[in-house]
Symmetry: C2
Subunit: 405 residues, 2 copies
Amino acid sequence: MTTLTVAPDSPFGLHNLPYGVYSTPGSPPRVATRLGDSVIDLARLLHDEVFAQPTLNPFMAQGYDRWGAVRRQIPELVTGDVPDDAVHALGDVTLHLPIEVADYVDFYASEHHAANLGRLFRPDNPDPLTPNWKHLPVGYHGRASSIVVSGTDIVRPCGQRKGKDDPAPVFGPSTRLDIEAELGFVVGTGSAMGESIPVEEAERHLFGVVVFNDWSARDIQAWEYVPLGPNLGKSFASTISPWVVPMLALEDARVPTPAQDPQPLPYLSMQPPWGLDVELSVRWNGQEVSRPPYREVYWSPAQMLAHLTVNGAPSRTGDVFASGTISGPAKETRGAFIELTWGGAEPVTVGGEQRTFLEDGDEIVITASAPGPDGTRLGFGEARGRILPARSTPAHRADDTGGTG
Amino acid sequence: MTTLTVAPDSPFGLHNLPYGVYSTPGSPPRVATRLGDSVIDLARLLHDEVFAQPTLNPFMAQGYDRWGAVRRQIPELVTGDVPDDAVHALGDVTLHLPIEVADYVDFYASEHHAANLGRLFRPDNPDPLTPNWKHLPVGYHGRASSIVVSGTDIVRPCGQRKGKDDPAPVFGPSTRLDIEAELGFVVGTGSAMGESIPVEEAERHLFGVVVFNDWSARDIQAWEYVPLGPNLGKSFASTISPWVVPMLALEDARVPTPAQDPQPLPYLSMQPPWGLDVELSVRWNGQEVSRPPYREVYWSPAQMLAHLTVNGAPSRTGDVFASGTISGPAKETRGAFIELTWGGAEPVTVGGEQRTFLEDGDEIVITASAPGPDGTRLGFGEARGRILPARSTPAHRADDTGGTG
């Protein structure tokens, strides 16, 4: 047996208990929780085969009451002696994508971000926010298959771009590769087609939260996104943290959202405070360049889920929706480099070099933390990714030959 | 044993052999093909358990060479005597969603449609096409979980809309519920993250084609879609035909696409003709109101798949991408009612009544056919759906109470 100890001020103490999926060499992936720097196999701890699975989905599908029961059960089991085969050191395991992603939607829920991007992308518009922005959480569906776990390398995407003065678009590796520091919300149980999830019931459907980096190729995005929204500028990769922090662990992080004016339509009206006081940190090659505050985000996760389903669209276990870039009012709280460097016009100094967008070899690590009980903090794990050079595929090599139409 | 016969001019003759998933009362869904009005259980015919599955995905994942081998094997087995338990009358079975949909992307590939919608949605723009339209196939990700099989009822969606002169948006059932007559393309085998599928290799990845109805709530769409594209105006439902017509059955339907000018970038250049001479038929309460011609669509399925993956986005077995509304140059070939009725200004007569958009109880049936060998035709089955009234959910009932913000 192993006796587990954890420092009282650990961000992965008994007040957190996030869920992830780990493996050791030669063994298939299984569900675990994390206590300090120990990874605890939940199938072995709880003697329940729902955790002897390569994703959290079967457990999530058991629903809200079960999530609470398991969360109450774990602390007493890990504070005594724990079977040796249930415990691994964090450094000895591989962490996997913890969920099988069903549908993925990215929102645009930070007013500071939306206003900054409006000024940069649509400078001729007098109002940087589109007329709908304060009436509904604007969002779009993204590619579920390119959501990857922290540590996955990111190949620089190729695509079409066209500068303002270029006579025709050109093809090649993105020259304006960016990040978006976000939170992702994992749907534990969904709703049938034709039904909807009212805002006051969102809590029973939302399983947990991950750190989310929505890598973005701004040059590809700018050329493609009118009129149907972002596609290839986003679809090549999104990175999530390996640990899903339960919504049930975030009770002490609940804060009101910023004041919503005009008052939203009734289906988006919230009673309890539904904002979250989660603070993110963005490190670029090891140097912190931004601290985006989720508490500044205008639309709450409950509002986003209510909106997504109010038209009767079905939702499923494993759906993920993300907040969109989190930016605060101050420059050093902007969650995307296009904002931080104002479209590239105001470089930041990273490791003594001037940077605007990402260069090959750059590494981004986004972490987050939130208040826990009694002055503690909760950790979120990290969303880490390194940029690899664009690949020379047949399609790319053909770039300098004539097309045949 | 049963001896199968099929009329030489049947649209479901030996030249077609589409794949679907059927069940009989008390038995789980399994893969079948269709010959005339007979449904043939492929696990029983071919003694292969890959067909004793509730979706086509395991078979599709076996790849292009295997698809060809099975297609060559079926005709000799069904022209002799067939085991009784392998054959069912079409009317005796339930047809299911034939694929487990992975990622879903909807394109906007018909020039006539894009130009018509540009004129209707953006009347102030001098060019109805956006500047990118002839350089890349514009598309966006949609909701995979709301793709349903023909025959599924469609509940009228609720959502926000705002007329030009309304001071604020209102919430309620859509008043401009529309269809989009499309073809959907099913990806049989995908590509890894960081890789791409060149246009000349698309053939080896594309398994088959379905008829696709992308139900659209125009009022919800018009209010929400700037700047990130359609979301709730589309996400409530898309209907597909139960039979997937193999790409391998469509050799005689290959035609050149319309001339592409300007010449696309090399990664989108096609050598063999990649258009498809598929003609759709839209029936509204039994009356044919349009015959959209797929051969008029500007971008080919090979170009759409090459574009989707050129940035290194992964693709998977079960990915579906659709053409977008198919409209020809003539009014009676427009594939959406917003075009057919010019935004509601020019009603059509359906069963003696004047109609613009869909009313509760209306039924839409979209079918398609294509040339086969020796003057035959191939049938596509149908995408059928009936509109049910909007549901009164708690969110809707709250509509006339004050919000709490």
